[in-house]
Amino acid sequence: MRMAPKPIQSFRDDFTYSNSPGAVARFPFPFPEDEYMYSVNIEPHVTPGPEGSVYEHLLDIDEHYLSEMHERDLVLKENPKRCLAMPHMDLACWDMIDRVMHCFSEDYPEHFKLTKAGDQWTWENKLLNINDSFTFGDSSTLPLPPMEYIGRQVQGDFALLDQRDGDLFMDAGIVTCPADWSLAFDAGMGFKEWHGPVPMAHEMGIFDRALKYLCAIPLGRPVRRLNWTLTVNARMDTSPETYPSWGSDRASVTPENVGEKVHLRVELQVLDRMSRSNALMFSIRTYLISLEDLVTNPEWAKRMHRVMKGLPEQLIEYKGLTRFHPLVVDWLAKYDPAN
């Protein structure tokens, strides 16, 4: 089922965000097994994927497009440092503009149109009423710096990694809906450095292997992986910068409101080599589903219970679930026949 963008809903204050039955059906449930542990879960992102699925296109657009673009605008107004690009990343930003505009206009022609005459490009985004002409590669011809310009038109967070000395450096990005990490803090760091806080995975050799693989990604052969956590309320912006406004949500979970308040937060991460700059584009497309909606699928409900019950203590702690994890397991138990 193709998702038509719906009117703006909120990811803060009154949290009017909701998933239609179609959005629930295509939710990227991340657990292939009853147990979860970190692994090098990277696979080729071959497009087109199954029709209507979140894997159909390089970058997925769904019914939350307008809501997420509105939320991004709120975050950037509060804190412009959520978007940055070091000067040597200018060409990589233009690569990203190229990739996004080509993919969107081919994959969603009803919403986006790209017209090119040599370096003179015209871009139409009918969803946001944008119609701009500019000279490709010349940042002075855009109304905003290139990263912010394109970042305000794509769902999900983005980082552009510069590849040098067999490492990847977080030298540009737009990050307004992170699962508790900060672009301003990680800017300029290498792959293992920004992954520093992650428990167990370093010792398991996961980052060594993943880095080798990522550095070898050729043009036109994107890869993807899923990551997940739990978020209280349908809050997109769970960043360290705004911790004071959401940290205490964790204490608001009760046995009565678990299903409604606790959301499974899944990140579909796509890595794609940029042609002119050799940078890697890393997109983090975040999907939120309330446990209430999740348990409408009995298979997911059963598996979710088992995964949560067996989750290693270090992961519970790192993901910030300690306060409400037992409530989640108890609430899910009734959906697992083995219980």
Partner: protein, 316 residues
């Protein structure tokens, strides 16, 4: 060749030095992608009994995706692709190439870029130069060649780059004094070398003596695609035997035989395809198994690894 190979037509051939020919390639379907300076493609040539696969640097302007250009030096002593390119490939012929990959990218944080080319090693720098100029970067090109065989593009380069271009024809007795050249560079200079082994070794030796950080010394190290020897695998559970030819991975051969093996990366890192080996010796090519696991010799990653002998028995 893998499914994402690109069909190209040779639209021009030019002798650019006595031993070097330049080939212009056009995409048969659609458009080429722009590429980054230092990228190479692997060209597959339909030779008998099996295709040649050679990696060549792209030397056209990276921002111009209208065509790709490569230059091939005739290597008489090798059995391989350069002879084929020189003798068999004609204008209008079709070939396959891989999408560009880059193992030799400039570091844009360098204060100065020192390019050292030896012979046909000029090719990646032909793609560097337009981008260095566009970015207004500080650079110098030092180009070593033999007037009677290599030295392609030298007049054009001298004309375009003037003072930033230094030519050394060894046959005219012109030598590049590496020691002095490198000792004179400002801090923050990155050196890039593409050329014969001796040139690379020479620069590495001097830069080490001068205490340059290794991260400031770049040399082209082609990851030539690695075909292997043919072998057979016996599937212990069904008793079937599957043949794996030199151009096919074990994983591909199993897939062709409709044997399901879980896999993700197809590149020897994710660990998904790990398969138990009951007998036979393994040539490990993956990044996944630990040294101890390799030592045990009872597991293989079929997406990249192969038998080192003629036969393997695997637990499938």
């Amino acid at each position: 060749m893998s499914t994402d190979s690109i069909r190209v037509r040779v639209s021009g051939i030019e002798q650019v030095s006595p031993l070097i020919r330049e080939f212009t390639l056009e995409a048969i379907d659609g458009e080429f992608l722009a590429f980054s300076p230092g990228s190479h493609v692997v060209v597959e040539m339909p030779a008998e009994p099996r295709p040649h696969r050679n990696a060549y640097s792209l030397l056209s302007d990276p921002r111009d995706s209208g065509c790709y250009r490569i230059a091939v030096r005739l290597q008489e002593q090798s059995r391989g692709g350069s002879v084929y390119m020189h003798e068999s490939v004609k204008v209008g012929d079709e070939l396959s190439i891989t999408p560009p990959a880059n193992l030799f990218a400039p570091n844009w944080n360098a204060g100065k870029h020192l390019l050292l080319a030896g012979g046909v090693g000029i090719t990646p720098f032909m793609a560097y130069l337009p981008e260095l100029k566009r970015r207004g970067a500080d650079f110098e090109l030092h180009y070593l060649y033999r007037g009677s065989s290599t030295g392609a593009y030298r007049e054009q380069l001298k004309a375009e780059l003037g003072e930033q271009c230094f030519l050394y024809d060894s046959e005219a007795g012109q030598r590049c004094a590496l020691g002095e050249l490198l000792a004179d560079q400002p801090r923050g200079t990155h050196v890039y070398i593409c050329g014969p082994e001796e040139l690379i070794a020479g620069v590495r030796e001097v830069t080490e003596e001068l205490g340059w950080p290794a991260s400031h010394v770049h040399f082209e190290a082609f990851a030539a695609p690695q075909p292997g020897k043919p072998f057979e695998v016996e599937l212990s559970r069904s008793g079937r035997t599957v043949k794996v030819d030199g151009e096919t991975t074990l994983l591909e051969a199993l897939e062709d035989a409709e044997v399901d093996v879980p896999h993700l990366c197809r590149g020897g890192v994710c660990g998904q395809c790990v398969t138990r080996v009951l007998s036979g010796d393994i040539e490990h090519r993956d990044e996944f198994l630990s040294a101890a696991e390799r030592e045990q010799g009872d597991c293989i990653m079929p997406c990249v690894s192969r038998a080192s002998g003629k036969r393997l028995v695997i637990d499938l």
